[in-house]
């Protein structure tokens, strides 16, 4: 090799290792072309790079800025006593509280290399949530900050114990005992998930068993703080990030850098259970290279537990199926939540049939792993930067008017680009969980130049129409219910008003145009859907319906007219829901007869069901909901990665739960609610900036609490208090979102009501007072079924709990 050749190899190698593993092949194809020796050399060096790990990272004479320096020093309020252990990115110390030497804690100090400011900011945001995680089997995170020299640290409850695998082996535990222990682990994970905390790095080393035989889970929430992207979505892992994973317990979505949800922990639980039962790891890795990691974790099915360990016969069948279901490559095919996994294990222990069944139609995992190569968030950002440049140039050209032809052409390019963004790029990323922020950026960039175009567009019908459509689109992403939205309703209303004004202008240019009329009707209807004032909303909906009816009077009535007519009926029905349920149902039935799309049909079924429920006709409501859910399950099955259809399905489940409550079929009700909860938890953790899934999580949580209130006061209290907490966090993150306001009010109301039912009047009044203050703060009127009067009239059954 000569110097020149090495320079060439060096450049290609560095560019390649900076890329995500799945992009490297493509890059090498482009760069190396037919130069096979170059390619082979670079590939060998990439492999070496992936394996190099800590090679040369520690200077020849001892450690880098020494962690040992910390012994005896003060970190926050804690005095470091000694080292407990060290991992890839952190050192853990034993420490005592400065003012109380009896209180021992573990202090985890993160190695340098992370952006301390960003991490601290994230910690400030998360600390409330972490501080509230209070569970016997979860080690608490007590504090966090940065050391004097800027290294981030976390203070945690100090746990003495052995990793669960070692503990079981050392005590010669049998399968039955191991499963009982594992059930407790599931319980802790379920608890954390319900509080919106995903672990992300579950492994035996993080599950310690103390001398009392109780498991303690360490590091809950810490992995998220340390991850490069707080939303959990990354554009693919770099070599360094791959190394931070614990590969034996990492899920396919983690290896691929996709969104991380509660399902990720379920997978890790499966991997731990595999190891507990067989003594072997689910996946055996022969190297830590990214390519090998992806091959094994994403593409290779683990050996059945019964064909791995020694206790073959005991594992065959049910336990095989349970473990393999938890280890499904596709998140949606695993258990929905940890409790479900625990229940299946319990069924096995009780000798009842389990849920997990071997796959009849084996999903092609290869397909799963190769799919989703859609536009990533980072690509969108690059795109935006490009567009910024083009728009600036275009406008300069236009304003200068020096070369008219050039200016016109540029103007046209901008139009097309805006078009591509709103109608091609946006739908691509819209269904992906985690996309809300990217869509927001995309749209505010688009709106900025739409406004500029609109000023110039007078008299050009084609352009007017494009603009109107673009404003409507923007309004949908910014606040229309049913879309992942960022709670910016006012902006959405403004955009829709702009759209309507343009549509009216258009219709004025050609009053006979069916299309123009339909489009104006549609914009009017969208506005009716979004506007706060009920009288104005009802007027708009009625106007929209009349416009479509006018258009429909003249045959032929095509599918487009039919669909808009259905939607208009639906919207009028919507506006009648609160005041005239009877007529509302009639409007909905009209819509039902006209709609063809299964998601719309299901939605209307649910609406009718809801109204029937309001009229105390739960029997018939249940029929409507079952019809809706059957359709929604079908839609969700067809594309499991579509976040919207899953959220939609969750609405069916939760509403059916309420119907079943009405019918006093409580266990069925709770089961249906729990299905809704699992979907919303997964989505809320995947994309914390999606106010919709988080609001609906609050809602289903307090509903579960109320369903429990009649049978299990303790569980009900825990659940209702959690609902309040989730609601408070939601409102902290979305202070101006009216849906978020309502959900928190409902959660307070539910808790007050539960205490009222239990006869704890002081407690009831306390929560009711909190609710009243929020009503005042948000200038809302009391619309609850439970009135001030009911709370005031609360009669204390046992004064005991009140005086505590």
């Amino acid at each position: 090799m000569n110097t020149q050749r090495w320079q060439q190899i060096k450049e290609v190698l560095y560019a390649a290792v900076e890329l995500a593993p799945d992009q490297r092949e493509n890059y090498l194809d482009q760069v190396c072309g037919g130069d096979l020796p170059l390619r082979r050399e670079v590939e060998a060096l990439i492999e070496a790079n992936d394996q190099a790990g800590e090679f040369l990272e520690t200077p020849a004479l001892g450690a880098k800025p020494a962690p040992e320096d910390l012994a005896g020093s003060l970190v926050g309020h804690y005095r470091i006593v000694g080292e407990i252990g060290r991992g890839g990115m952190a050192v853990v110390y034993r420490a005592v509280r400065e003012d109380d030497f009896r209180q021992e804690v573990a202090v985890k100090v993160v190695k340098r290399g992370m952006d301390t400011d960003e991490l601290l900011e994230r910690f400030r945001h998360e600390r409330q949530i972490l501080a509230l995680l209070s569970h016997n089997n979860i080690a608490r995170v007590l504090d966090g900050g940065a050391t004097a020299d800027g290294r981030p640290y976390f203070v945690m409850e100090l746990v003495h114990g052995l990793p669960i695998t070692d503990y079981c082996d050392r005590n010669n535990l049998g399968i039955h005992e191991r499963l009982l222990l594992f059930l407790k682990v599931c319980g802790a994970v379920e608890y954390a998930h319900r509080n919106l905390v995903v672990h992300r790095d579950l492994k035996p080393a993080n599950i310690l068993i103390g001398a009392d035989g109780e498991p303690k889970l360490l590091d809950f929430g810490v992995a998220k703080l340390l991850s490069p992207d707080a939303t959990g979505a990354t554009a693919g892992l770099t070599g360094a990030q791959v190394r931070l994973l614990t590969p034996e317990y990492a899920s396919p979505e983690q290896v691929r850098g996709e969104r991380i949800t509660t399902a990720t922990d379920l997978y890790a639980l499966g991997a731990v259970l595999y190891e507990l039962l067989t003594g072997a790891k689910a996946h055996r890795l022969t190297s830590s290279g990214a390519v090998e990691l992806e091959r094994v974790i994403c593409l290779t099915d683990p050996t059945k537990p019964s064909e791995t360990g020694e206790k073959r016969s005991e594992l065959r069948g049910d336990l095989d199926n349970i473990v393999l279901k938890a280890l499904e490559k596709q998140p949606e095919r695993r258990y929905w939540h940890a409790e479900q996994l625990a229940e299946d294990i319990q069924r096995y222990l009780d000798g009842r049939p389990v849920l997990a069944r071997p796959d009849t139609i084996r999903y092609r995992t290869v397909k799963f792993c190769r799919r989703n190569k859609v536009l990533t968030i980072s690509a969108v950002v690059v795109l935006l930067t490009l567009i910024g440049g083009i728009i600036a140039t275009a406008w300069q050209a236009r304003i200068a008017q020096r070369e008219r032809a050039v200016a016109e052409r540029r103007f046209d390019e901008v139009r097309k680009l805006g078009w591509t963004l709103l109608f091609e790029v946006d739908p691509e990323i819209a269904p992906l969980a985690g996309a809300t922020k990217a869509r927001e950026k995309l749209l505010s960039a688009s709106i900025a130049y739409l406004d500029a175009l609109a000023r110039d567009a007078k008299g050009d019908p084609a352009l007017l129409r494009e603009l109107a459509e673009a404003y409507e689109k923007a309004a949908q992403v910014r606040g229309t219910p049913g879309f992942a939205n960022l709670g910016r309703e006012e902006v959405a209303v403004q955009n829709l008003r702009k759209a309507m004004a343009l549509r009216e202008q258009l219709l004025a240019t050609d009053p006979s145009s069916i299309d123009f009329r339909l489009e104006l009707a549609r914009a009017t209807r969208l506005l009716a859907q979004l506007i706060q004032d009920p009288a104005e909303a009802r007027g708009l909906a009625q106007r929209a319906l009349e416009m479509v009816q006018l258009a429909a009077r003249r045959p032929p009535v095509d599918d487009k007219i039919r669909a808009e007519l259905a939607s208009a009926h639906y919207q009028v029905g919507q506006q009648l829901v609160a005041t005239d349920p009877g007529p509302a149902i009639q409007e909905f039935r009209q819509a039902l007869a006209l709609y063809k799309d299964p998601s719309n049909v299901s939605l209307v079924h649910k609406k009718i069901g809801a109204l029937l429920l309001l009229q105390r006709d739960a029997e018939h409501a249940l029929v409507e909901y079952n019809a809706a859910i059957a359709l929604d399950e079908d839609v969700a099955r067809r594309d499991p990665s579509d976040a919207r259809s899953r959220l939609n399905l969750s609405y069916g489940y939760s509403d059916r739960g309420s119907v079943l409550v009405q019918l006093q079929r409580l266990p069925e009700a709770i089961e249906s609610y729990r299905k809704a909860e699992a979907i919303r938890l997964a989505q809320a953790t995947a994309d914390p900036s999606d106010s919709r899934s988080r609001s609906s999580l609050v809602s289903v949580t307090w509903r579960i609490g109320m369903a429990l209130a009649q049978t299990d006061r303790r569980a009900a209290t825990e659940t209702l208090e959690r609902a309040v907490r989730l609601g408070e966090f939601l409102n902290r993150d979305f202070p101006a979102n009216s849906i978020a306001h309502r959900e928190l009010l409902d959660a307070y109301g539910a808790l007050a009501n539960a205490y009222r039912i239990w006869g704890s009047c002081v407690e009831a009044q306390r929560w009711w007072e909190l609710r009243r203050r929020k009503l005042e703060e948000w200038k809302l009127v009391n619309s609850e079924a439970v009135s001030d009067h009911a709370i005031a009239a609360c009669e204390s059954r046992s004064g005991k709990s009140d005086r505590n």
């Binding site: 060096k10 060096l45 070496a48 520690t58 020849a60 004479l61």
Partner: protein, 191 residues
């Protein structure tokens, strides 16, 4: 004592006097060797042995702070890294020779109490590989020397070599991969 001399030599060198470097190096070598030996023989149990600490301490002892600029400091660290490499490799060769029954003088460095965590590669092999790399790309070889033997950060290395931190990072990453393979460490590493 030596303080004034070394400072003068360092300034002379930084102003282009190559011969100043030849006179500077033995002085730095002696001081580093002395410091390293002291650390390892537990004369000063409060300290742990670190390249960075060693270099900084030698610098403080040898250089008159008021006469030099920031760039001189980086240059000094550069020289020191080279010296540490020589000390450690010499030490490794001696230890190897002793194992084979040679009667070479036992260095005080041999008191291994304070030695860094065991490495799974041979320092002598690394030294040879670095010599090969120096023929291919002298700058990369220097980057490894400064980072690994001198304990310098990316920024300090950039300062010492008068190149950008981005270039240091690129040279560091690619040279490490090359060395890793050159030392035949690939495939034997645990996952």
């Amino acid at each position: 004592m030596a303080g004034a001399d070394v400072t003068t030599l360092l300034i002379d060198w930084s102003q282009g006097d190559r011969s100043a470097l030849d006179r500077l190096m033995p002085l730095v070598y002696d001081e580093l060797h002395h410091l390293a030996s002291r650390y390892m023989s537990h004369e000063d149990p409060g300290h742990t042995l670190q390249s960075t600490a060693l270099v900084h301490e030698a610098y403080l002892k040898l250089i008159d702070q008021q006469r030099v600029q920031w760039r001189n400091r980086a240059q000094f660290f550069g020289v020191a890294a080279q010296m540490i490499r020589r000390i450690l490799v010499d030490h490794a060769r001696t230890a190897k020779a002793q194992k084979r029954g040679g009667d070479a003088r036992k260095l005080s460095l041999d008191e291994t109490a304070g030695l860094p965590a065991p490495r799974d590669f041979d320092l002598i092999a690394l030294d040879d590989a670095l010599a090969t790399l120096a023929k291919l790309d002298p700058q990369q070889s220097r980057v490894i020397e400064l980072r690994f033997f001198g304990g310098l950060t990316i920024e300090e290395t950039a300062e010492a070599l008068n190149i950008s931190p981005a270039t240091v990072k690129r040279d560091w990453v690619t040279a490490k991969a090359w060395l890793f393979r050159e030392l035949n460490l690939a495939d034997s590493a645990a996952p």
